[in-house]
Each structure stands twice: as structure tokens, then as C-alpha cells.
Symmetry: C6
Subunit: 85 residues, 6 copies
């Protein structure tokens, strides 16, 4: 079944309120619930686990991620859950 | 036969629905079907193989790639298929 | 209780006058009071502690941080205080 | 003979249909025929030789290069041919 | 005494004609008099001391710094002078 | 004698037709005559000497430098000549 075209901001919009997995330039990773975003792909996450290749896992209440430095976003926290249409 | 001029967004548009190969800053590579893109060259891929120089291959359902950090895109997954006019 | 959607600039705006923790590309960190910001996420901080992985802590009166190179912002100085609704 | 002022996009425009040499951030180099470009200096090249400091030379049919990560462009493939006015 | 909100470009504007300390991505630092700036935080400095972690100090008459690569600006050359209200 | 305010693009404009010294992210340097530039600080240089920390000096006829990756520009080729008002 051919997948429907999907614009980047549409994909992000579908993820608001759900868990996402964000990989930054420089290697940091974040898993958390997406509260909001803007056209520059800046993102607000809550209930966040920060995964640092060196410092391990840290829990954070609420963070802003700068779109400039986001490399990749995967819906569903670890890439499967949200998209099992 | 002289090739026709081709604008960057035209090239990406021709790839929607087809397999592409994307190389990021920092060395990560992705092969997957392009679902959509925007003027900032942000891209949505599905049925994705992530090729990491260290961690090897990972399969992902759907991802967003930030245009800021895309270095190069090659139509056709590994550079030949789509463009055998 | 499902959290309310929250746009990036709204989150920053809520932090004006409060302590925030900013992590830059390249590893520098800053904790200080946010005096102002703009659409490019440039930020003015005062009463600033600069935390450098190598050079340790430095006190600074007032600084401008370039949004381009901000990786992450955490409200509340070390991630808890501001957001204990 | 004093050279005529030349705007960046004018220079690129003059190269459409000709061979150019592009150096990216991170060290990759590409020599190929320029098919098109846009205001963000994104470029489409065809008949491309990719020169990687480690992996050597690779031939590619058609590629998109992200202007964000282009460091330098030299008309004429290896810097002489196009500009022998 | 609660500090007044202060926008990034307001802060820079207050520094025109005064000494500032600018830290770039990649570690270079510059101390000099700010002659002008624009919305992209590009800056013109004069009577400049360049402080390179490896090459030490160099005096330069006049320079342009690209806002893209400015990490941080501290009013007052070494962080105290300008802001002793 | 207090120096006159000078906007970044004004400074570059004054250098058109003169020799400038450009330092890029990543360490490459270029000395050449500025033929033109645009609002993104993209620059066209001619009669260019490329100074690479590893590969030494290379002569190039004409090049485009991407403003994104320009760190600093010094009027006058090696920082003194143009500005001896």
C-alpha cells in the first residue's frame, strides 16, 4: 500500500502530545512528550529522559530543543509505537 | 545530450514516493522512501535503514530529518536506480 | 493530567525574569537570569555562571548568547524549580 | 585590467551546464556538472565524482548538495578551465 | 532590584562604541570596540585583539565577525566594565 | 578620534575591488580580491591564495565562499593595508 505524502511539519504536528525520540548534533538524545514546536523545528518536550553517550540518563521536567541542532526525530519514543497504522 | 537545468527542490520533488539515500553531517546515512519535504529541505522518510559508521544498520518506521544537517541527497537509494533515463 | 500544548517561544517567554540553564554546542553551559530573547532564540542573561567542562565556573555580569549555537534550554536553572505546577 | 564586480548567485548562474568543484564542510569534495541551484546555494550536480579524503573516488549519477554545508565552489572542475577570459 | 527586560539587539546596540568580548565557535576570542552590527548579529570591531588558544594574541585594525559563528558576547571587554550601574 | 559607526555590509561593500583575508570555519584561509557579495555574506573572490593549515598555499582563479561558513573577514589581505586612514 503506497504511503500518503507527508510534510515535515505535518509529521511533527501529529506527534504533539505523544512521545518522540530526538537526536541532536553532537550525539545527545532525548525521549519525551512533545508539547509544542514551531516552523524552525524548535521543540518543547516534557517528562524527558536525556541520554548522553558519556553521562548516561538524566530526567528533566521540561526543555526547549533548538531546531538548528536537531539532527533527526523519530515518532514514538523508540521508533515503533506511534506509527503502527 | 546536454542535461536539462534542474532546480534543487524540483529534484527532491521528483523523488517523492521513491527511495533516496541521505548523508548527514557527522556521518550518519539513511536510505528510505521519501514521503515529503519542505523549503528548508527537511525530509520525512519511511521504511528507513539507518547506516551508522559505528553502530551499523537500524530499521525505523518513519523519521524526520532536519534539512540543516543534511549534507547530500542521492536519488535512488544507492545512486543509480531512479535516474537511468 | 495531560499537559497543555506549549510553543517554544511561549516557554522562553514564561522564563523571562527567572533562572534558566542553557547548554551550547561545543559543551559550554550557562545558568543565569533571562532578561530577554528574540525570534532567533538569541538570549540575554544576567547574574551568570558559566560552566566550562575544562575551565570550570566563571561569574559574568551580563551576556548575549547566539541562538544559532544554543542546543538546549532548561527552565529553572537546574531543571526542577520553575515547573513544579 | 580591473575585474568587473560579480555577485555570488551571478557566478553560480554562469556555471550552470559547466563543471564545478565543490568543497563541503567536513572535507568531502565533488566535481560534476551543475544542473541547477537556488537562493540558499543548494545545488544539483550530475556526472559526479565524489572525492572523499578516506574512501577515495565514487561516481554518482545525480546528487543534491545542501547549501548549508557547502564551504566553497570553484568554477571549472579544478579551478582553471571556465575562467580563462 | 529586579533587572529590566533587555532584548538581544538592544544589548548589542548599547555596546556600539564600547569594548566587547566575543567568543566564536571553535574557540577564537576577540576583544575590540564595536563599530556596528546587523540583525544577523554580524559585527564590525576595531582596535581588535584576537586571542587564539594556540596562536596567542594578534592585533588587527578592523574586522567583520560572522554572526553565524558567534557563540557569546560579553559587554565590556572582560565582562565587568560596561555594566557597573 | 572616535570611529564612525560602521555596519557589517557597509564594511564589506567598501572592500569590493580590494584585497581581503577570509577565515573559514574549519581553519581554511583565503586572501584575494573581493568581486562581490550578498546579504548572506556569500563572497566571490578572484586572484585567490588558499592557505590550508595542512596542504599549504594554492592559487585559484575565482571562487565562491559560502557566508554560512565564513568565520571572519579582515580588510586588506593581511589586516593592515586598506585601513590606514
Amino acid at each position: 500500500m503506497p504511503s500518503e505524502p507527508l510534510l515535515p511539519l505535518e509529521l511533527i504536528d501529529k506527534c504533539v502530545g505523544s512521545k518522540i525520540w530526538v537526536l541532536m548534533n553532537g550525539g545527545k538524545e532525548f525521549v519525551g512528550k512533545l508539547l509544542g514546536f514551531d516552523d524552525y523545528v524548535n521543540m518543547v518536550l516534557t517528562d524527558v529522559t536525556e541520554i548522553d553517550p558519556i553521562e548516561g540518563k538524566t530526567q528533566l521536567v521540561k526543555i526547549l530543543l533548538n531546531g538548528n541542532n536537531i539532527c533527526m526525530m523519530i515518532p514514538g519514543g523508540d521508533g515503533e509505537e506511534v506509527w503502527e497504522e
